[in-house]
């Protein structure tokens, strides 16, 4: 983050400025002061070396902004620069803005932007705003955007090659990639003759309307301009990577054209297949009446906006975590775009201008800034991008509700119903209880709206864009909808009902037949049976997993029970949830992983500190041992659900013997307590641990003596072994589980486990990768656990291999030097499946 330094002749003044700034940033922006000199009798003055110290204390490569009072403060600051390295000098700006206003404005902007020029502009603007306030002039406070990039700066021309162009997600990736560089970067859509846009502004980028085939030009100016252009070029020419491939597939989902309306049927857009019949529950988004009131202090208004945005960010992080647990990471990424909207300099600037120049109150200013942006999206030709307006509205409403203290409306369904709404935002959709929602029907919206994508992910039949004021129907009206054909019937007559019910059954039977085929056990060509299980994030996914052919659950992420709520789930609630999942699984095993959260997932009741390195912080078993009551409650619930089921438990993030022993001790105490209370539980429940920390690998033989099984978590293991953050695109290639170092680690773990007589599973993404399966089989892995959609492909690969072949490939793979070489080897050795989506 950009740091701020206050230089003043007076220590008191410097401290006072610090107080004002901290009040707004809650200490989140690194700020150091250098005030006064070390002479008790004459403390007024400045000291260049103390300024140097202050700068160094907040310095990062993002840069430092120095604000000074007067006279020697300037001279001392300049002198201090002389004693810093050239590289540091290049990232430090001495800012002529007025000390107090400049410091507050700079700090506020530094919370949302790492672009030092932008922060500098904000600080300078503080004086303009003040002048305007006192003189009534209207200052020009435009974001220093793209237009400030010199025209002779290096540039590249590219053709957008992904299907939907620079819509929300690719735009988000584009902006966050651009944001990693210091260079000023601009982008222009040549095919539409647009103005140049600031490449670090999500809205400016998205509203370029860049679609497939459009030619764009990216210009960058600054020290790291070449790297920035290279990174953006890679991103654009690769069609925005795999996440994009996923949405292509999803958006391209073969939805039949809406057929001409049957008699009495309303037609809408088929958004998610399936037939639903039931009473309607109206979901009304009461329009929020935005108050207008005279304001006294624009800074107060601006400060409230910052607080609301901060709270909204927290909500979005929680919602994202919830969506990840319910429908997977890919759909959950929708909320990343919302997070980016919240940081958009263009939007914030628009709100800023309305508050400071037009003296609008914060609610009205925000609403108007959001509306302007919504209008910009609606003006785009591309329907896919027009649909993004809903996302901006959603994000805007979230902040507005927070500003106005309105509790977000949510439907509490008394019984299973069809949710009817004018429109559903992604947030609304993610919060629906899939057990109670039979179907979704909206007046507006489209098949490519994020709400539709979420509905498909949750397996809820949906018809969007029915129009006709369907949301004005009375509660409890019976509705029937056919999501595959986009048809909706109000109060269907009994003949129609019977017909639809039989359709629903035959549809279900058809699904059943498909999955029966998949349910055949996985056998290698030489007849070895391999256990294929599913990773799931909640009860909702169990049926789907079985349908895909899972022979149990190899990883139940229990976070879904803990996220997006204000108190931890009770023992009874947890018991019921585990019970329900285990019941659905019947004779199949269920491995429950105890709570695996850390500083990156905010659980209000755990009061977790924000950590600089959450992946190296208090998480997993570390956290649970720190809050043993949470673990104990969870273990009691797991034990209570165990009788009559094949439940196993495992602990995440174990790195020392002390930890696993402490966890087992809590388990033993819990068992004793249950025994004494006469509560039944499965005495022989297997206890395992995740092997994902290199320390646990090194101790594999000793760890194996403590547990009944290992489960290798390759996602974390890869990033810890390779010391490469898997969310950082610059080192993504390193955290690849195909890296020979990772494969050898896996081999070592399996060897040690088998030597100690315990079995080993693998529950990372690697298990579901058809190329990896060959190697893992050859290494002797006992159990594969993967995301359900991967199961059919993996089974197919297995059926074409013999153990001897797999072992030979694995042995050869371990001798290779690069991840690419391993992939090549598997491909060339006749792996039956290429990585193309089936």
């Amino acid at each position: 983050m950009i740091g701020i330094v206050i230089v003043s002749h007076s220590a008191k003044l410097a401290e006072g400025v610090r107080e004002l700034v901290d009040q707004m940033t809650k200490g989140r922006v690194p700020l150091a002061v250098s005030g006064g000199i070390e002479d008790p009798q004459h403390p007024i003055g400045t000291d260049a070396f103390d300024v140097q110290r202050a700068i160094e204390s907040v310095y990062s490569d993002d840069g430092v902004i120095v604000l000074m009072d007067l006279g020697s403060a300037l001279l001392s600051a300049e002198t201090a620069l002389e004693f810093l390295s050239e590289k540091q000098q290049g990232r430090i700006r001495l800012c002529e803005a007025p000390l107090v206003e400049g410091a507050v404005a700079a700090a506020v902007q530094a919370m949302v932007s790492n672009d030092i020029e932008l922060v500098l502009a904000e600080a300078r603007g503080a004086l303009t705003a003040k002048t305007a306030q006192l003189k009534g002039a209207a200052p020009d406070m435009t974001v220093p955007a793209a237009s400030t990039v010199a025209t002779d700066a290096p540039k590249i021309r590219l053709t957008v090659c992904n299907r939907h162009g620079l819509h929300a997600r690719p735009a988000a990736r584009f902006v966050s990639t651009a944001g990693r560089f210091q260079a000023r970067i601009s982008i222009q859509n040549l095919s539409r003759y647009t103005e140049t846009a600031n490449a670090k502004s999500i809205n400016q980028v998205a509203t370029l309307g860049a679609r497939e085939g459009h030619e764009i030009v990216i210009t960058a100016e600054g020290a790291d301009a070449p790297e920035a252009l290279k990174a953006l070029e890679t991103l654009v020419t690769s069609g925005f990577g795999e996440a994009e491939a996923a949405i292509e597939r999803d958006a391209g989902l073969q939805l039949p054209e809406a057929s001409p309306a049957d008699e009495g049927a309303l037609t809408g857009i088929p958004a998610s297949p399936g037939i639903a019949i039931g009473p309607i529950a109206l979901y009304r988004l009461a329009p929020i009446a935005v108050p207008e009131r005279p304001i006294e202090n624009p800074m107060n208004e601006w400060q409230r906006l910052q607080q609301a945005i901060e709270a909204a960010q927290k909500e979005l992080h929680a919602l994202r975590a919830l969506a990840t647990a319910q429908v997977g990471d890919y759909q959950a990424a929708i909320f990343d775009a919302h997070l980016l909207y919240l940081e958009d300099p263009a939007l914030l600037d628009a709100a800023h201008r309305r508050i400071f120049d037009r003296k609008m109150n914060v609610e009205a200013a925000w609403q108007s800034a959001v509306e302007k942006m919504v209008a910009a999206y609606r003006d785009l030709e591309d329907p896919y991008q027009q649909a993004r307006a809903a996302d901006v509205i959603d994000m805007g409403q979230r902040v507005l509700k927070l500003l106005m203290g309105v509790v977000p409306a949510s439907v509490v369904l008394a019984r299973p119903s069809i949710v009817v709404a004018a429109d559903l935002t992604p947030s609304d959709t993610a919060q629906l209880d899939p057990d109670k929602v039979l179907g979704i029907c909206t007046e507006f919206g489209s098949a490519t709206s994020h709400a539709a994508i979420l509905a498909r992910g949750m397996g809820i039949p949906a018809v969007m864009g029915v129009g006709m004021g369907i949301s004005r129907l009375a509660e409890e009206t019976t509705l029937a909808l056919d999501g595959a054909h986009g048809r909706v019937w109000v109060e269907p007559n009994s003949d129609l009902l019977a017909e639809l019910k039989s359709q629903r059954e035959s549809w279900a039977a058809e699904q059943q037949a498909v999955c029966n085929a998949g349910r055949q056990p996985a056998l290698t060509r030489d007849g070895r049976r391999i256990k294929i299980l599913a990773n799931i994030g909640g009860a909702v996914h169990v049926k789907g997993a079985l349908e895909q052919g899972a022979e149990g659950v190899g990883l139940l992420r229990t976070e879904f029970l803990f996220l997006a709520r204000v108190t931890p789930p009770s023992e009874d609630e947890q018991t019921a949830a585990y019970h329900r999942i285990a019941d659905t699984l019947g004779p199949h095993p269920l491995i429950i992983r105890t709570l695996d959260v850390g500083g990156d997932k905010p659980l209000p009741y755990l009061d977790l500190e924000v950590e600089a390195n959450p992946f190296l912080g208090l998480r997993g078993i570390r956290l649970c041992l720190d809050r043993p009551e949470i673990l104990k409650t969870q273990l009691r619930a797991i034990l209570r659900a165990s009788p009559g089921h094949r439940i196993k438990v495992m602990f995440p993030m174990v790195s020392t013997l002390t930890e696993i022993r402490a966890a087992k001790k809590i388990l033993a105490t819990t068992r004793d307590e249950l025994s004494r209370a006469g509560v039944p539980f499965e005495k022989n429940m297997e206890v395992g641990m995740m092997v994902e920390v290199p320390a646990a690998v090194a101790l594999a033989d000793q760890m194996a003596a403590e547990v009944d099984f290992f489960s290798i978590g390759t996602n974390d293991l890869s990033q810890y072994i390779m010391a490469a953050d898997r969310t950082n695109p610059r080192v993504q290639a390193l955290s690849d589980a195909f890296q020979p170092a990772v494969l050898r680690t896996i081999q070592y773990i399996i060897e040690r486990a088998h030597a100690a007589g315990i079995w080993v599973g693998l529950c990372g993404e690697l298990a579901g990768d058809p190329l990896a399966v060959t190697v893992l089989l050859g290494l002797g892995l006992d159990e594969f656990s993967m995301n359900p959609p991967a199961i059919p492909a993996v089974k197919r690969v297995l059926s074409k291999l013999t153990m001897v072949e797999a072992e030979a490939i694995a042995t050869a793979a371990l001798k290779l030097e690069t991840a690419e070489a391993v992939r090549e080897l598997v491909k060339s050795s006749g792996n039956p499946i290429s990585r193309k989506p089936a």
Partner: protein
């Protein structure tokens, strides 16, 4: 010719000079500034004295560097970074030397003045120390060019500094605290020009 010992003596006597003139500089600064120039200079050179007594710098460059660092750290006012930079550049000009010829002394002042100009960005007639230092350098260079002896060179430098100092009286301040006074700064001698004159005058007293 100035040996390292003599240079050190200059600095040591400067401490006494600024201590004796403390009140005088305060009075000058109180007329057009914040009445701290005397305090600042006295504090700075007292600390210089203390720091120098703790070290035994191998050459003149190293010694002047200590002077520079201490002034930057302890003077507190504009004079800190200004004289600090003066001595920092001077120390570079004298790097590795244990004695200075007349031309070296002039080069030292030239480098020092360049530092003050770079740091403070003052121009002639802005009513600052530059109005004393700059004519002093011009006079010294001229004397050096004329083949005057060392004593004459610095004497002429000091005389020019004194004249420059007095010339600041009718000036309108454009830099520093005094600039906030505008017209009211006219009629008073600039404290910084005065401390600069003392710098040269002491050199004459010690070296001459």
């Amino acid at each position: 010719m100035v040996s390292q010992k003599k240079l050190r003596a200059w600095i040591e006597v400067l401490q006494k000079v600024y201590a004796e003139n403390r009140q005088y500089l305060i009075d000058l600064d109180s007329a057009i500034g914040d009445a701290d120039h005397g305090i600042n200079m006295d504090r700075g050179f007292t600390n210089v004295q203390a720091d120098l007594s703790k070290t035994d710098p191998p050459d003149i460059g190293a010694m002047l560097k200590t002077v520079a660092m201490t002034l930057i750290r302890t003077v507190g006012g504009a004079a800190g970074p200004l004289y600090g930079t003066f001595f920092l550049r001077a120390s570079t000009a004298c790097a590795g030397k244990t004695e200075l010829q007349a031309a070296d002394v002039v080069a030292m002042f030239e480098a020092g003045l360049a530092g003050v100009l770079q740091r403070g960005k003052a121009e002639l007639n802005d009513k600052t120390m530059v109005d004393a230092l700059s004519p002093a350098l011009v006079a010294m260079k001229r004397a050096l060019g004329n083949g005057s002896d060392f004593r004459q060179i610095i004497q002429q430098g000091a005389a020019a500094a004194e004249e420059g100092m007095k010339n600041t009286i009718p000036m309108l301040a454009k830099k520093g605290r005094a600039s906030y006074l505008g017209e009211r700064s006219i009629g008073h001698q600039d404290p910084g020009a005065t401390s600069s004159y003392l710098l040269l005058k002491t050199a004459v007293d010690v070296w001459g």
